[in-house]
Symmetry: C2
Subunit: 418 residues, 2 copies
Amino acid sequence: MSQPDAAADPLDGAVIDARLHALAAFTDVPGQMTRLSLSPSHKAAAGQVADWFRAAGLEGVHLDGTGSVVGRYAADRADAPTLILGSHIDTVRNAGIYDGNLGVLVALAAVEALNRSGRRLPVAVEVVAFADEEGVRFLSTLSSSRALAGTFDPACLDEPDASGITRRAALEAFGAPVEAISGLARDPARTLGYVEVHIEQGPVLEECGAPLGIVTGIAGASRARVVVRGQAGHSGTLPMVLRQDALTAAAEMVLAVEARGGRDVAPESLVATVGLLEVPGSAVNVVPGEVRFSLDVRASDDGVRKAAVTDISDAITAIAARRGVAAEIVWGHDAPATPCDPDLRARLEAAAATLGLDAPSLASGAGHDAMVFRGIMPMAMLFVRSRNGSHNPREAAEAADIGLAARTLHAFLLGLGA
Amino acid sequence: MSQPDAAADPLDGAVIDARLHALAAFTDVPGQMTRLSLSPSHKAAAGQVADWFRAAGLEGVHLDGTGSVVGRYAADRADAPTLILGSHIDTVRNAGIYDGNLGVLVALAAVEALNRSGRRLPVAVEVVAFADEEGVRFLSTLSSSRALAGTFDPACLDEPDASGITRRAALEAFGAPVEAISGLARDPARTLGYVEVHIEQGPVLEECGAPLGIVTGIAGASRARVVVRGQAGHSGTLPMVLRQDALTAAAEMVLAVEARGGRDVAPESLVATVGLLEVPGSAVNVVPGEVRFSLDVRASDDGVRKAAVTDISDAITAIAARRGVAAEIVWGHDAPATPCDPDLRARLEAAAATLGLDAPSLASGAGHDAMVFRGIMPMAMLFVRSRNGSHNPREAAEAADIGLAARTLHAFLLGLGA
């Protein structure tokens, strides 16, 4: 299915879903969906996407210096501003087929429908399939969307992957014109904004029975590594009252994190998670002397997040002091919340309403390419109901919901010309 | 220092401590104390111990079929019963130099002192350096003491180590007459009992400022593996109220284990420990879907232990049900408590009193060769104050305390002739 069926409606969810399955054939690991950034399967997928872009009527289709596939649907007039539609086609290891790819193919479908009907808008539409969103292969991530935002960091070109291949060498093997990266920054004064369609990756839309949701903003995130040091001992010979058990202390901390995360509710959407927890050198008959765990705190309101970070740090310190163990907390990654543009949100909401849909508002707890445009140009996101989270082979979106997303984005584009 | 100094007092703690350090030269891994059962360094250590046994006046010194070094100090009469003194000379990986070895060298010193003074007792004294106590190399353990108890299981000869070498092959390479194992069982009717000196491996004696302690019994132990299964999810997109977090559930279980273990105090010496805890497939941004942990419950009273096991199982089941996760508990290893013989205990206590020592009674939370004699012959243990637990390079006993243990054991032996 390298060429679209000329008879089929490009906004038909089944047509988009069939393309998603066809694109899933491009994988580094046969039998699963693994398409790491700038890998050979990514290169082949980018070629397929470029073919679809051209067949849909996009012009100037090319690979940019960061490996993104870019195409343009011209406006009805000269000097019109540009709207960017995009998402990414790289994946995590053993991924699902919807994360990222769905947003690219829905954007493609909306523009393809415009082209079929011969409709031009007072804005040009750029469709972009970003190359670097998942951050699995190299240390940093979002380099391809940052290039458009004008915040690309050239130092990331020297980052090696696990095999020692630098991002620069990977880009050159990919066929990307690395030397052109510095010219990729879009002029915010001539750009209407960035809009991304993406699966929700969470259960909120499923829980409230809505196929689509309007994103209020992308949550800010704080991450930390905590090391708890007690005193190891023999599980049979060390009386309970003399223990400085690092694991029971950590258990109390994990529960404190959960309790603080659950105290505030929507719309700030605070979440607090201990995802990693390790007991180095552990054995069934050893009282744990050391535990290491991670913290991940997110909220769509930075004040709510920072208050939770402070409270969690205080709780961990207090638990450690009471139990006579040491706790070292190192807060690292700290990303501010990125609010979506109110006007673009309202336009997406109105577009959904033309289909009779009452699309609820919800925050994005996950990061997306969209967040790099914070403070640079307006940004909005449309979420599609999905099952089983994301980053696993069971992630899923219904073809009918995908079709509603495409029709909503199409109506949104038409609304720009109204 | 392959031969003892004829001028030195064998009961001098510094002399015994010097031998402990000399014996520590026999290690599989230079720079640390690693002497796995039946390894080349164990063979060399056994040779050194045999030399010391002979020089101390023990007769018939030999390697038995399980790799133990055995020597005998004859009684003052024919048909006298035998008392067995022993401990082990195998170690864990990266061990200390006192665990096991100290008990062998203290027993040797006590008999050496008898021999120096030309004193014979109305009982023969056998000194044994067991070959297989730590259970690091092969699946089962305590095979060398079980041979004396008459409970050696020939099936253990076919157990392979990690390199595929069977215990039988290792014994043959060690020079042990495997074919003679079935004849090693001692006749309980002609054996007074078994007495073992060992470092405490815990902080109780240190806490109460006593150099020696009389063991009341070896705790019984129950072990289990617990698997908690919730639902994995994205740490940013899964709201707190919709989570089935396996790690927060496990944290609550860990605290329940700690609380139940701490409820009862001495003399039952209940302890309950989660030593291993793993979060398979974990990541900083993933709500944990599965956690595996171990349980280790010990008490010197079997009723106390079994009540705790029941309560802990019930608590884990209740926490899982309340949190909507699944918990599977599989209780495996179950060893009954082994009480020490009251008469031997009283004799050890009286022997310590001859040195002006008030040796407190305490339970052994760790297992020892002594426990294989449960129900077969009387058994008692003398603990020596130690620091930093055991099974690590920092475990330590003071030379002065070692000397007190040797003098107490010597006085105990003299008491048998009184």
